[in-house]
């Protein structure tokens, strides 16, 4: 545990989560989820859970983002509300 990093990273993750659900454009939401996964991986690493961090890194940095972009490509991208 490194306490100062802990609080800062939790704040960042919170910002990312709020931004991802309030944004209108779906592709932007996907991009912000990418940032969310980066910070989440940092948080896991900081708590010394290396295996979980590795899983988070490998899954959401590549395949997660790619599959979400594919799903956005098959739907209407901009929501009206």
């Amino acid at each position: 545990m490194i306490l100062p990093l802990d609080f800062i990273l939790i704040l960042f993750v919170f910002i990312c989560a709020v931004a991802a659900i309030t944004i209108k454009d779906l592709l932007s939401a996907v991009v912000i989820l990418g940032a969310y996964s980066f910070l989440m991986c940092l948080l896991w690493t900081e708590m010394a859970a290396i295996d979980v961090a590795f899983t988070e890194a490998s899954v959401s940095a590549s395949i997660g983002t790619v599959l979400m972009i594919g799903c956005v490509a098959k739907t209407k991208r901009r929501s009206k509300d």
Partner: protein, 88 residues
């Protein structure tokens, strides 16, 4: 030496906050993508700094290599999607 690395990583986290401003409020997808790719590079360095602080850099470096390899794919796929649909 450990204190130096700790201060440095906190400073990098503050820089991540500024990039996150561009990522969340930046107009359009492209600005957001630029901000997020900047965050990716900084994340890689912070991971290695944490590895030095915990004194287990041989374990943390695998995650860094994975980030370095995979961060590229996300950007390329996003760019190709924007290029094929033609809407920025």
């Amino acid at each position: 030496m450990n204190d130096f690395f700790l201060i440095l990583s906190v400073g990098m986290c503050v820089l991540v906050l500024f990039c996150l401003y561009r990522g969340t409020f930046g107009p359009g997808v492209l600005n957001r993508a630029a901000g997020i790719s900047a965050i990716g590079t900084k994340t890689l360095i912070i991971l290695l700094l944490m590895g030095v602080i915990y004194d287990r850099i041989d374990m943390f470096i695998d995650i860094s290599i994975a980030y370095a390899l995979l961060n590229f794919i996300g950007t390329v796929v996003l760019a190709k999607y924007i290029e094929t649909t033609g809407e920025a």
